[in-house]
Symmetry: none
Subunit: 214 residues, 4 copies
DNA sequence: TATGAATGAGCGTTCATTCAT
DNA sequence: AATGAATGAACGCTCATTCAT
């Protein structure tokens, strides 16, 4: 399994750690979104979190820990939401619900997702691996759902097509967070509706051939 | 129009400027890909370019200029390729050709595209605007093609659906550069084939309704 | 006289102060020996002493106080030992006994002596002066013993030679603590024996002249 | 052999490196003597050297490098002086000359020696090893000279006594640098004269026994 | 009395940029 | 036009010390 990395803290009171880190994550996300991880200083993070630089370092060991904490908290939320869905076996209906929830989550946590996608490359190796694994878990979840649909005959997709479709789906989710400036005219509901349509049709229809294309 | 930003140089000889900047871009892309813009030092760029730090600064004014030069050169290439296509009016066939060329280009310039998407946020405001405009030009090109298809009745899409489809298309292109680690099993030809299929079916089929979904 | 510096404590109970400071000294010596005064943190001292950082500061005012306490405790021990000797008047025999006891003490408290010699320069001015005075007392004790021997005719030494011999003696003691890595082959008994021999012969013999030396 | 550690510099001009490092060493020795290695900041070193903090770091990689450079320069000087002596085979006369030169050197470079002895423990492991080896070379030189004297019958010393005498000699040298405050009344010539006397008598005389000493 | 979370001055180090040669 | 030594602002991080509980 994908073992959670421990972020060391010299403070012992666990609930205090949780509270301070929540402050930290909130402050850091705003800053990272605005200026990026590298242009944000630890002093700024401390200030935005509402405490001093010294206190910040009571709860983390390195600046990168803050970024990791941000990424980790996103996946905690993702899991919380999906667990609430209580999925057993995939079907077109379940898939559509899952997509809706996933895109809804991204809408709720736009800043966090943008930060994660833009800045995760600055994570130390092991933390990056952890985050990528989490991402893969997410994609696999969709793959599983699609595979169930394929098995039950609801959709006709080869294994490769399933893989691609799952990534496709995942990436379109990112698009909502990333390209808001380009999608100002859409509500999240419209976006979900249209994306779902595209996807279902893309999977369902007959193969199409255009003649004369290289 | 989107006016090209001038990057100041204290050197007069235009052809020398072009030569040195080409060296610079080649060196910088590799470094930016490997370590990101912020972790790359100007000294490293100079070294990778084959000249001294002093010389580097004869051809640019700030480190960000290098990033801008990289981004700009990508779009020069994009334009060169698309101009060669000599498109007049859109049709499904033309659209499919354009997609193929676009994805092919991304495949050829993977490193450059990754750098651009990952690091462009570090550009100074005006340069970022310029690059985003370039991106919008690209998306608009696809929108134009799709609109032509809609007009001629080849596809049935509302204006909003056209916008979304164009972005969709554009983002799937990025995916090829970005998520290569997840798409190791695919060749670029397969990828183009499958993506095109998805798109065409997604646009062509009847609307699908899943009942019981919120 | 050399007045003992008061180290402030906010705790009133004198016996508790003594107990806590003893814990502190034991912990600190080990740490100072291992990593030096500057590389040792107050938190580490607290931990090694068996109490919290807050408690540590109930018994001292500054980190340097700990160092002072260490140095002071060494001289307390030195005095305790020499008082037990109950010296009245010097003679060669008494001198030899004193040397033996002094070197034996250094052997027993090697770590403490090394710390004192290596780190005492980090003491605040007045504390350093106090410690240097203590050291001078020690040297004077030997000077006194030597002077007695000179007076009684047991050795032939000018006042200047006495001074130098006393320092000599003192410094050779330090050597035992300091250069243990170079003296692995010697036992403390051998060392005392040989040093005493050297000293006595050095003082007793006829003056030697080497001709032709500039 | 004891390979010289390379201290990295980003400057290429070797003679400039030598010049700047000489400035650095001169400045640093004064500061280290005054306040110790740990209490001296790199900015102070830069200032005392006559250049900026940025320039300082063009010639070293870490603060510890400065300390190493100081220690290394001392032994360069030691070697230069001893090589000039052109010793072939030991004799009492040669030994006395060597001692005189060694103590003379220490007198000339008092500050440097004090810094080396007080602060070398702050060197990184490999550098410390290098310096200790240099020290051992020095001691061995005296051991060699003494062994030659023993062989030729000029002195009667067992191998162990030779070892101890060499260390003894070496440590008395340190004393001159270290305990100047206690030896204000002596000139270096007196000191050399008396120490040599002590040593020669210590080695030459008959064994002395004090009765009644435990 | 004992605790440990909070503080912020200060440190070592980096690196974009300049400019004399 | 090319070089690379010099600069210093700014960063990440530490740790002695305080003080509310």
């Amino acid at each position: 399994m994908n073992r959670k990395r421990e972020v060391q803290s010299s403070v012992k009171d666990e609930s205090l750690i949780a509270k301070r880190r929540a402050q930290m994550i909130r402050g850091a996300v705003t800053l990272f979104k605005e200026k990026g991880f590298h242009r944000t200083t630890t002093r700024e993070i401390a200030k935005a979190s509402g405490f001093s630089i010294g206190t910040l370092y009571e709860y983390i060991r390195t600046k990168e820990d803050v970024l990791y904490l941000v990424c980790d908290s996103i996946y905690d939320e993702v899991h919380a939401r999906f667990d609430a869905l209580d999925i057993e076996k995939g079907s077109l209906e379940v898939l559509v619900t899952a997509i809706g929830h996933y895109y809804g989550l991204i809408d709720d946590m736009q800043d966090e997702f943008v930060v994660m996608y833009q800045e995760s490359k600055s994570l130390p190796k092991d933390a990056l691996q952890y985050v990528l694994n989490k991402e893969m878990e997410m994609v696999s979840l969709f793959e599983g759902l699609l595979a169930d649909c394929a098995e039950s005959g609801e959709v006709k997709l080869s294994p490769k097509e399933i893989t691609l479709a799952a990534h496709h789906l995942f990436v379109q989710g990112q698009m909502w967070a990333f390209r808001r400036w380009a999608l100002r005219d859409f509500t999240i509901e419209e976006f979900i509706e249209l994306q779902t349509q595209f996807l279902l049709q893309g999977m369902a229809g007959e193969k199409i051939t255009i003649q004369g294309v290289k």
